[in-house]
Amino acid sequence: MEKILRIERVLESAERALLAGLLGFMVLLAFLQVALRHVGRWTSEPLSLLWGDTLLRHLVLWLGFLGAALAASRNKQFSMDLSTRLLGGRTRAFSALTCDAFAAMVCAGLLRASIRFFKDEYAQGGILFSAFGVDVPAWTLESIIPGGFALLLVHYALRSLKDLGALRLSR
């Protein structure tokens, strides 16, 4: 149990740090884009960064997956949540285990699907945009899809283990 909690803590703090950094960068970049675009209208020269909007849109996926991973760990995903209001004790522990294990199973399925997607994209090697003379291949930013589902899978697997422990204790 100790070990599980430690793994969770380490994962969570890594996710938090990455989220804060990414979000700070996005707030600045998004504002810069708007400012440049509006100044550009007066000078009738396109000033905003050509790759800025594409990068921002892809980074939303990163925020989304990292946020979802954290939400999974903190049990803040959207759910009907009737059981926590109506059930008690062992039944509740059992329903938590069922739900977390089911979520882990679905995440495994989605991880498998996203690895296939990622392999295709990697093989095609499409370029998403060029910034400062560097071509950024699409797969680099798309890697968050399998990465994100892997994180979700780990969080739900850890939760299931914790649920199992709680169920044993309640006996």
């Binding site: 979000l23 979802a68 959207f78 089911f102 679905v106 995440c107 498998r112």
Partner: protein, 420 residues
């Protein structure tokens, strides 16, 4: 697998509290597999998220809203509203209505209002001798008031999912939003007079103090809402401006937020964003499959046999949405909207009008017994039993239903601001 058994199992899992995204993801994987399509197609659909230009607005608005909620902006807002409206009969109740509406719109209507503002307003209301039931009902209701005003998160999400221009939705939803504010204000004035609440005299000095204190925040609604309505910038540009502005103002000018608090606010707000986006991503695959399978068409054919007229359809739709929205409003938008929009179009309902009906239903669903989210939030915030809250919100609920009827059956109410 037997489809009935499968549905039963999924319903059971949903009732036990399985995450919505896992249920949708499972269905998408299962249906694609059954149709002989490679599972990576589910991910191809999910990846469409990265091509929606307005999507950037969701994390930026949410982050800005959480920053405002964590700062002392709620107190400044209440002080300002108090100085402006406090002198009227029932003035403090109107203060509550207006400040909750503004706050909900800017924090994305995620239930923060009751937590952040309710705690300030409830003791104030009780000190001025407003009846307990009225105070509880008012604050529970206003917890989602403002959902109809820009830049509320549900409006943006509806626009994204229904493919309706967000600025048009903003314009259309504001009219019934104002109507709602007026109805509730009139009721508050009436209660204030009936209870003989002492009036607080107007004070120019207090107003000047409140204006000065909130000087940096007052331009924000005008900039964001005005900018969108006047076409200066799009919803996502407005979100970029707001996030940057709020960060600078709250962290560096007011210094309400310390730099070391920011990472926690970032991850707290991104959990909400992540929860929305993962449902949205999983649902893109599923709804695409359902639309390919012509489910909306079949739904229409089925409904049309029983529900002939547009009016009756709207009535059925309202009843259905009230039940669905009690579950969870963001998931409700993501799953139900793509299926309802084509059906409603067959009945000749304008997509923007449908949007306004949907959003108002969300607002009412928030406080509909037995499961509306606001009831639970209020119960824990004010320590009142759910039964007491059911009773105290009932008059407000009836007024909102009347407003819903007006909005539903008078399309002109929401459409006149949109143009042809």
């Amino acid at each position: 697998m037997n489809p009935w058994l499968l549905s039963l199992g999924l319903l059971l899992l949903a009732a036990l509290g399985a995450p919505v995204f896992s249920l949708i993801g499972f269905l998408a994987l299962y249906l694609f597999h059954g149709a002989g399509i490679d599972s990576s197609a589910v991910i191809v659909e999910l990846f469409r998220l990265a091509s929606l230009p307005a999507l950037v607005a969701i994390p930026l608005f949410t982050f800005a809203g959480y920053c405002l909620a964590e700062s002392k902006a709620p107190q400044r807002l209440v002080d300002l509203a108090q100085a402006l409206f406090g002198w009227m009969p029932g003035g403090l109740a109107v203060v509550g209505l207006v400040s909750c509406a503004v706050f909900t719109a800017f924090t994305g209507a995620s239930g923060v209002t009751i937590i952040a503002l309710g705690g300030l307003l409830y003791p104030m209301l009780r000190r001025q001798n407003y009846p307990e039931n009225f105070s509880l009902g008012l604050l529970t209701t206003t917890g989602s008031l403002g959902l109809l005003f820009p830049p509320s998160l549900p409006i943006i999400l509806y626009g994204l999912v229904a493919k309706v221009p967000i600025d048009k939705l903003f314009a259309a939803a504001a009219v019934p939003g104002v109507l709602l504010l007026l109805i509730l204000s009139a009721y508050s004035l009436w209660v204030g007079r009936r209870e003989g609440i002492m009036k607080v005299p107007f004070s120019g000095a207090a107003l000047a103090r409140a204006l000065k204190a909130a000087a940096w925040e007052i331009p924000l609604p005008f900039l964001i809402i005005g900018g969108i309505y006047l076409g200066w910038f799009t919803a996502s540009e407005a979100a970029a401006i707001m996030a940057f502005y709020v960060l600078i103002v709250e962290a560096f000018i007011y210094r309400d937020l310390r730099l070391k608090d920011l990472p926690a606010i970032a991850s707290e707000s991104m959990m909400l964003v992540g929860a929305i986006l993962i449902v949205l991503g999983a649902a893109l695959g599923l709804t695409n499959y359902l639309i390919d399978a012509e489910l909306p068409g079949r739904l229409f054919d089925f409904l049309h046999r029983f529900v002939g007229s547009k009016l009756l359809f709207l009535l059925v739709l309202n009843a259905f949405l009230l039940v669905v929205n009690m579950v969870e409003i963001f998931s409700a938008i993501i799953i139900v909207v793509p299926l309802i929009v084509p059906v409603a179009a067959q009945y000749g309902i304008h997509p923007v009008h449908l949007g306004v009906i949907f959003l108002l239903n969300l607002e009412i669903g928030y406080m509909t017994p037995p499961l509306g989210l606001n009831l639970f939030l209020s119960s824990s915030r004010f320590g009142a039993s759910l039964l007491k809250l059911y009773a105290s919100t009932f008059p407000f609920w009836l007024m909102l239903l009347a407003a819903l009827a007006a909005v539903t059956y008078l399309p002109g109410l929401s459409l006149w601001a949109v143009g042809p």
